[in-house]
Point group: C2
Chain length 430, copies 2
Amino acid sequence: MAITLRTTDTDFEKRFAAFLTTKRETSPDVEAVVRDIIATVREQGDRALVDYTRKFDRADLDALGIAVSRADIEQAYRDADPSTVEALTFARDRIRDYHQRQRPSDDHYVDAIGVELGARWTAVEAVGLYVPGGTASYPSSVLMNAMPARVAGVERIVMVVPASGGTINPLVLVAADLAGITEIYRVGGAQAVAALAYGTETIRPVAKIVGPGNAYVAAAKRQVFGIVGIDMIAGPSEVLVIADGDNDPDWIAADLLAQAEHDTSAQSILITDDAAFASAVEKAVVRQLETLPRGETAAASWRDFGAVILVETLDEAIPLANRIAAEHLELAIADPEAMLPQIRNAGSVFLGRHTPEVIGDYVGGPNHVLPTARSARFSSGLNVLDFMKRSSILKLGPEQLRALAPAAITLAKAEGLEAHGRSVAIRLNL
Amino acid sequence: MAITLRTTDTDFEKRFAAFLTTKRETSPDVEAVVRDIIATVREQGDRALVDYTRKFDRADLDALGIAVSRADIEQAYRDADPSTVEALTFARDRIRDYHQRQRPSDDHYVDAIGVELGARWTAVEAVGLYVPGGTASYPSSVLMNAMPARVAGVERIVMVVPASGGTINPLVLVAADLAGITEIYRVGGAQAVAALAYGTETIRPVAKIVGPGNAYVAAAKRQVFGIVGIDMIAGPSEVLVIADGDNDPDWIAADLLAQAEHDTSAQSILITDDAAFASAVEKAVVRQLETLPRGETAAASWRDFGAVILVETLDEAIPLANRIAAEHLELAIADPEAMLPQIRNAGSVFLGRHTPEVIGDYVGGPNHVLPTARSARFSSGLNVLDFMKRSSILKLGPEQLRALAPAAITLAKAEGLEAHGRSVAIRLNL
């Protein structure tokens, strides 16, 4: 059973603080193994990819080829259920439409003394997208990672996905194709990350690597960071539902379980001001677990990390939600718009009783790659700006240089940087 | 002497590629030491700060106090040269004005089927700013790190700065005060980073840590990443000057040396289409080095990492500049605006002959915290968005849920996530 916390309990603050710092994940120490794999790929290139793939993915790339061909994509369409392809296309379009509004504008202006200032946004030239194999090979994640890069204008989006036992989920290939990805390689693990960062005979290097992966992939991304950019390292998923007593307990239980079924380390939290409703939700969770194919996973998540927090008024939920800083936050209350302005820390917010978080996983439009483990306090979900960068622009004429020179020279001198001062002074014969 | 590369040489591509991957920095392995310091601060709090400060900074915090007082700030104003305070104020205002234009807008819209979508930007609640001690204690960097956070609306900006031998550069305290920082602690090193991330009796934890530091600080930031956000890890500074033959060689030499004087690992690169001009610049560098207080540092930087690249036409400079992806790029050419749109990878661009990079270090307005070591290929200079985060917003009514449900349920099923499908279906009695 999930734990229950009551804000009226005298030890609430202590228990809540402990709850906040509960570690849900232990990451095995794979640093040394990964370091070795990266070094080998840098040294041996494609050969290392073939060898590691034979070993880790039980697939023969000498026979299959490292690159996925156009014929492979066409076969994937034939293998896929047409209604799923249609749903992916629907999702792709909605994700594209939402992200198009994130495209930034360049800036250019002239200040009072005639200095020209501005900023220019440009897309990252080449991005690598890591897609896990096996059961965590989600076509929806391909769309969520690739579409912001597409919208940003990234010319080259390279997907890597391990062909576990020789095969790749056809829906992953279809999703890649729908997202306009034309360069796909059958490699995974730290070796794929190394290939994207440093290049091999077949795979040209990229400038940034995104996408989820296991501990090896995460460690590899950390190790190549600096050579290339990386996205955040995703932890297990979580949902916080703030609900009043007017909800159907079965709906809220279903939302909590949708999160819990992801992973035994996933976390589902309910905050409510209605103790009877909370009991009804907990009973509904138990009932629904019985008929859930991933019931064991969901039950473990709910038992180990689930929580019900009872507040006296829903206003009390706000500071708690901001401290939890959940990846997903549902406001299943009568007037969610009234609470929204007070929510500071949340990856994605779902308003009202008819917006289950799952809609956001697939077809809402917003990205489902979101900050986990309280990192919504300082970071955002994946978006178009993650695939662009800004260069600042400055232009002075002689008159503007004369106006700014004295302060610049004074500060250079104060910082003991004589050559700095000189590069300004020399232009003015000072 | 700096190396010279000519695009007409048959081995140019090979030599240029090698030049690009030259490591300018070796980072000592301080992981274990830093891990120990962080653990000790978590365990002992203030006591550990006092002990480490006595050991590493030769300062007695029991006597001085951990917190810098209002009286300390007032003393710093008295100790500072008034014209420097004035120059800092001038710089502060120009930095603020530039960054104010970076404030993002929230978004809210309703799509064709009535789904409400949007995004809300909020400031990070508390930010820690690390300021190095000793000679690298630059007041300009205090302004550059603090002002974007101020403009973003961060409520709590906490500065940590080691009091080496008991003292702090008064200009650093003045800059902090001008930037509106009211919470300053006399601690540095990995212990300061640990205190900001985990808190002590005196220092409440923050959500993000920014600012430059030595290898210990950089390693500490890497280790606490996840618990808090961090900014990029800055490497040694670099400038690329693209100049035609119509420049005064002394001006360009001064610009190259302004970069080189920072650090023996700094890098200055000149690309020009005029061999005679290049020689004149190299001679001017040698001449100017003689009278430079930091001449030894600058000479070592120019000798070990400086480069002159001779191109046949300035058009050839563009792809080279994009591969170099310099932190600072000067376009000292007749028509810089014509070249600018083709520049993709650069932290900050300085247009024309009267815009020495140094103006951007102090009083231009744009930030001087910029991506180094080719990371302008995938990242931007410090800006207001680094101190904010975006929450996506979604709201459906029953009708919209009905419209989106089939695709969501199909995709959940295709991904084997039954509870996901159920949380949608249950609301529609499907």
